[in-house]
């Protein structure tokens, strides 16, 4: 069933997933419910914007850099308006008006605001967007979109020239805290066969309401995501990729309180993948749900434009809930994530929907259940580059056992036609990977992927057997959950703890103070420019056409 697998990267001969007899009415029902849930929440939040979204507008205008005490200029400008209660019309109008009146370019104006030489509040009272101001905003927005599209075309050209790894792409993480060490680790990983390098972020970053500036050498459990760090790693991977004759993809995290801003930075620095989940921050970082649901939409529109693949984080549900009991929550959430992603203009081959292998490996038939779950996800999202996540919950200090668990995980991944395989590390439960942990993981993956390359299209599932029954059962449970969430609405569903056994309230969590209701004169020229570009690319329906 090779038509199931995604075409975003080369497919080795025979790569695919065994056929699975699912109830097509249930599949259709699940997808239509997810769509209904996504539309309801989008409509509910359409009238809101956030501090992060307004900062993203400035980033796309070309504003960069920070004050001497490390506060990004984008934050300084947005807060100058927000603290005065003058942000409800968006940052663009007063900013472009001040540009028109002072003659400064975007960067110079942001610096002048930060130095208290220009008071933006004086420009916020004019409600009309006069043609001159409109022209400035539209020109800046077009330039931002053009920069992102240029990086997208650059990627396409490089992949065309260099070639790339075959599916499942081998994805490994680096997480030393020091970007210079990360670069060494990443270059070694590429030489050992890695196709994707993900730089794990410092553990506190998702809760920072600003993006740190510059090259960083200190972090905890990871390395800060900064535009300078992105650029450094991008250059290193381009260099080693050119030498190896294989384009090496770079991944980071558009998540937390700066979701859309980091998406913009990633788009500008030619990242190829972004962890970007509509619900993860709400559940696992206690970020306010209105904030995240607004931010995810803008971040995904930018990622859609950048042509990069988003990765969703449903694997995490199984670290807190039981992997068998909660399997259907992963399915329900991937369907919702998919529906929200499509609204933002992401194409099927940009949907790295996440799932994981987290069943207790000592449970009888654990492998059968894992194959059933992985095959179910594969069949629900034909053509999407699914991201399969390795065991973490049942990894111990016994690295030898862990290496076997990871090898079994690699087997399930290749057998079921997963697109992106996040390779497990034998030292998962102990520390961030050492240089040889990655090599051993890559060697194991190559061995298993090569040996089992075409099993997926050769083997058949026993009709009416345990595996098929399990997949059908999980799908049926997912439909029941989606029915309930469609009835209540997504936000009420999250408040009731349907996902990951974690309950969050619509007005709880971090970052709600950064959400505001847009007034009637709200103006964001970057939103219009992105929409127009996505329409031109055929990723969003043209005006008047229905959403596909």
């Amino acid at each position: 069933m090779s038509e199931l697998v995604a075409t975003f990267a080369p497919i080795p001969p025979g790569f695919g997933c065994p056929p699975l007899d699912l109830d097509s009415a249930s599949v259709a029902r699940a997808r239509s419910l997810a769509q209904q849930i996504a539309v309801e929440v989008q409509e509910r939040l359409a009238g809101q914007s956030t501090l992060a979204i307004e900062r993203t507008v400035l980033r796309l205008f070309g504003v960069t850099g920070a004050t001497a005490d490390g506060e990004p200029l984008a934050n300084r400008v947005v807060m100058a308006l927000h603290t005065a209660g003058l942000l409800t019309g968006g940052v663009a109008r007063p900013f472009c008006r001040a540009m028109a009146l002072t003659g400064l370019d975007a960067q110079a104006l942001a610096e002048a605001v930060a130095a208290d030489r220009v008071d933006l509040r004086a420009h916020a009272d004019c409600l009309d967007v006069v043609p001159e101001v409109r022209a400035i905003g539209e020109t800046l927005a077009q330039a931002g979109v053009a920069r992102i599209l240029a990086r997208r075309h650059e990627r396409e050209a490089l992949i065309g020239k260099l070639g790339q790894g075959v599916q499942p792409l081998k994805y490994v993480i680096v997480a030393s805290g020091n970007i210079h060490e990360d670069v060494i680790q990443a270059r070694v990983a590429a030489r050992q066969g890695a196709d994707v390098i993900a730089v794990i972020r410092s553990t506190g970053q998702s809760l920072l309401d600003y993006v740190p500036e510059g090259v960083t050498t200190e972090g905890f459990g990871g390395t800060f995501a900064t535009q300078a760090n992105f650029a450094l790693m991008r250059a290193a991977l381009d260099e080693v990729g050119a030498e190896l004759g294989r384009y090496i993809r770079l991944c980071n995290y558009a998540s937390g309180l700066c979701m859309p801003e980091i998406a913009a930075m990633g788009a500008l620095e030619r990242l190829d993948m972004m962890l970007n989940d509509a619900l993860y921050g709400i559940l696992f970082r206690d970020i306010n749900m209105q904030r995240t649901l607004c931010d995810q939409r803008v971040s995904r529109r930018i990622s859609a434009l950048a042509g990069l693949i988003i990765n969703t984080g449903e694997d995490n549900y199984l670290t807190t809930a039981d992997a068998v009991d909660a399997a259907h929550t992963v399915v329900a959430s991937t369907l919702i994530n998919e529906a929200l992603a499509r609204q933002a203009g992401l194409r099927t081959d940009q949907l790295g929907l996440g799932h994981a292998m987290e069943i207790d490996p000592m449970r009888p038939d654990a492998l059968l259940l894992e194959i059933a779950h992985a095959a179910l996800i594969r069949h629900l999202f034909p053509g999407a580059p699914l991201k399969y996540m390795p065991p973490t919950k049942h990894m111990t200090g016994n690295i030898w056992r862990g290496h076997v668990q990871d090898a079994l995980f690699n087997f399930v991944g290749v057998l079921t036609g997963q697109g992106i395989q996040l390779l497990g590390m034998m030292t998962e439960a102990m520390h961030t990977p050492h240089i040889h942990d990655r090599y051993l993981a890559l060697e194991s993956a190559q061995l298993v992927f090569g040996g089992a390359m075409s099993l997926g299209t050769e083997l058949r599932v026993e009709p009416g057997g345990k595996l098929e029954a399990r997949a059908r059962h999980v799908l049926a449970e997912a439909v029941v959950l989606l029915e309930e969430m469609a009835r209540e609405g997504l936000m009420a569903g999250l408040a009731r703890g349907h996902f990951a056994e974690i309950a969050r309230s619509p007005t709880g969590g971090r970052g709600l103070d950064g959400v505001f209701v847009k007034d009637a004169n709200y103006w964001d020229p970057t939103a219009d420019a992105i929409t127009a570009a996505l329409q031109a690319l055929g990723q969003l329906p043209a005006r008047g056409e229905a959403q596909p």
Partner: protein
């Protein structure tokens, strides 16, 4: 097999006193004979004899991965070992509830958090959530305990502020991220703050995480520490036995 001499114990491979050790590590030395020799010399400096490089792999970028087997001539006197262990017995859930009913006139209050920048709640959730870990129910499932879980990324200051309101008998702190030993400084800072606030002596302070042990916990000023694989009932056993009647 000859008799084991507990005063002179060597590592064991397949013959008593063969001293066999396995090591694997990487060196920032380009792949080749020099890298293998560097590995052998390093092993000799560690006091190992007859190091054999069984596997060397070119990692690229001037790094080499090595698997080395060697013989350790050193011995340890196992009759003279002193280790810090928890003095309390491991009880099952029913025995814990029975002991608590006897000893305490109210439910014990347990406040838990994953502190500092740490966002990994897997550990604290496994101990506190009803579901528990590996079939062993979490502390929320105990009638004798009233549990409040503050979740991830709680500052030490906020934890103590919550403690003033909740008046816990026990504070449980989880630390998973240990890069550059940030868990040690963060845990020690909590105890300093608690002492400054005058709440240290009233509350049982317990920490847990994969790189923590009872010994490390005591060094950091805690009353107990639990490492990887700890079951909720082990924590519950400790606290009902350790706390004086109240």
């Amino acid at each position: 097999m000859s008799a084991i001499d507990p005063k002179h114990v060597r590592a064991y491979g397949d013959t008593l006193n063969d001293g066999q050790m396995m090591l694997s590590f990487s060196l920032p030395v380009p792949f080749g004979e020099e890298a293998k020799e560097a590995a052998r010399q390093l092993c000799r400096q560690m006091g190992l004899e007859a190091p054999q490089v069984y596997h060397a792999h070119d990692l690229g970028e001037g790094f080499t991965y090595l698997v080395v087997y060697a013989r350790s001539p050193h011995t340890v006197d196992t009759t003279q070992l002193r280790v810090t262990k928890m003095a309390t017995a491991q009880l099952g859930k029913d025995a814990i509830e029975a002991l608590a009913a006897q000893k305490f006139t109210r439910r014990l209050r347990v406040l838990g958090a994953c502190t500092g920048d740490d966002a990994h709640t897997v550990g604290i959730d496994a101990i506190l959530n009803v579901k528990g870990y590996n079939g062993d129910k979490g502390l929320e499932a105990y009638h004798c305990l009233s549990v409040k879980n503050l979740g991830a990324q709680v500052t030490n200051e906020r934890l103590l502020e919550e403690a003033r309101a909740f008046q816990p008998d026990v504070i449980l702190v989880s630390q998973i991220v240990t890069q550059k030993d940030c868990h040690r400084s963060n845990l020690a800072a909590l105890i300093d703050l608690a002492e400054a606030d005058g709440v240290r002596q009233d509350v049982l302070f317990i920490c847990g995480g994969p790189r923590l042990s009872h010994q490390v916990a005591l060094e950091l000023g805690f009353d107990a520490g639990f490492g990887a694989g700890t079951l909720p009932s082990q924590v519950a056993s400790f606290l009902v036995q350790q706390l004086p009647p109240r």
